[in-house]
Symmetry: C2
Subunit: 250 residues, 2 copies
DNA sequence: CAGTGGTCTAGACCACCGC
DNA sequence: CGGTGGTCTAGACCACTGG
């Protein structure tokens, strides 16, 4: 009898030169990106997947292990295997230690500016969109205990982020990534931060409560969704004397 | 018949609450630290180990996998499983991009200063030795294409590094970690870098060919051997405007 | 060619979770 | 309790390495 469950994989043709578990991982990844399982949701059980694909348990487990250390899946003993939820959004703080911060105080954030503009060269390249394509530009000030500490310029491709162009910024939370997900269905899954040093111009210095020419750290972040598409370009400026970062070398 | 190969493990008592492969990993780790296999040398083959320990192949493979992603072992298909050799030593460059450097030019290094001193508080704490215990203090200038770029202050515990206190620094190579290994038997296996920002004092600025008060990055490195003991404290200073670092967030 | 790690199977039983 | 992932076995065969 022909089984016709929507979850049964159309067994893909064996790809020569690729191990069985690598094929399975590729197929699972495709199904996840296709949205068959939402972020935060549990995958079909290993045993069931093994049956569906017609492989041994160990093989499907190897495939899952691959996606786990690619950061796409997460195992929870006794509960299931879950599609990873997006980044929280507080990750910019890890580069800075703020002297005046009493323990792990949550930063507040305020949108200073929001406008639609055509993408400049750097933005279009980072977001892989045509030059002059429309983007939403945000300027945002983050503070801890009332002290301004980080100034951010954020570029978001339109029309993907259209909901953010029309809704009231005052209604947004202090973290942006959850808003991306809630309002635009965009899940930020990983990011790449490029750090360098610079000095502040007059207007940026004023907004951070510092003097013109003050040394600052510049974090250029590109954030990516599950499919690997770059969905955000963000430039963050902060006082260089607040900067501290630990890296492990192996 | 009793087998008496020197490699046969005295089968350790099963540790309750710990999986078999975790036990095996612990035992293998101990044997490696004990020096049963030197860094760079191949481990006994998986099949042989499985026989010796009286477990299935898959179990010993899981144990080895643990040590591999702890960075202690390295597998090479068709050749064997090897104890990881130490760090090369050029790793400080990864924080800096030097504009004048023609591609990946190797840096040269010169010892400016070498003396025995009693450990100050910070040094003794980092190296976990008593305060005022003897250390070897090195000052070292690294250059690319004749341009001074990094100034380092290095603290090494004595008597472990005694060979470096007596030999001629001119005979040392441009990388220190290989010298640690060759002359003192110390293998640097991993390190932790703590980055922060500062401005140069007059004397340091002079040695780097910069002006007093110039912005600089300060990298405080603690280097560890295979056993996890801290064997080096190093403070590196470099021009902040040459600094660039990329971090991945997941 | 012999020796190594890499893949895969078809089972068994254990440990954790939540109802 | 049933369902999940975690551990372990005892094999088979494949793929890479080097003499």
């Amino acid at each position: 009898m022909q089984q016709s469950s929507q979850f049964t994989a159309d067994v893909e043709p064996s790809i020569p030169g690729l191990s069985r578990y690598a094929e399975l991982a590729t197929d699972l990844r495709a199904r996840i990106l296709r949205g068959q399982w939402e972020p935060g949701q549990a995958l079909t059980a290993e045993a069931e997947l093994a049956r569906a694909y017609g492989v041994a348990l160990g093989t499907i487990r190897q495939a899952i292990a691959l996606l786990v250390d690619q950061g796409l899946l997460e195992r929870r003993h006794g509960k299931g295997t879950f599609v990873k939820a997006g980044l929280g959004g507080a990750s910019m703080l890890r580069f800075f230690r703020f002297r005046h911060a009493d323990s792990s105080q949550a930063p507040t954030s305020r949108i200073l500016n929001r406008k639609r503009i055509p993408a400049d060269a750097a933005t279009s390249q980072a977001l892989t969109i045509p030059e002059n394509a429309p983007v939403l530009a945000l300027e945002r000030l983050r503070s801890i205990a009332g002290q301004p500490c980080l100034l951010e310029t954020i570029m978001l491709p339109l029309p993907l982020f259209e909901p953010l162009a029309s809704s009231d910024p005052a209604a947004w939370g202090d973290l942006l990534y959850p808003e991306y997900q809630r309002r635009c269905g965009v899940v930020v899954h990983q990011a790449e931060d490029q750090l360098s040093f610079d000095t502040l111009g007059a207007s940026n210095a004023r907004r951070l409560g510092l003097t013109k020419g003050h040394p600052c750290v510049r974090v250029r972040r590109r954030a990516y969704d599950l499919t690997g598409r770059c969905v955000e370009l963000r430039i963050t400026l902060g006082d260089a004397f607040d900067f501290e970062y630990t890296a492990h070398v192996r």
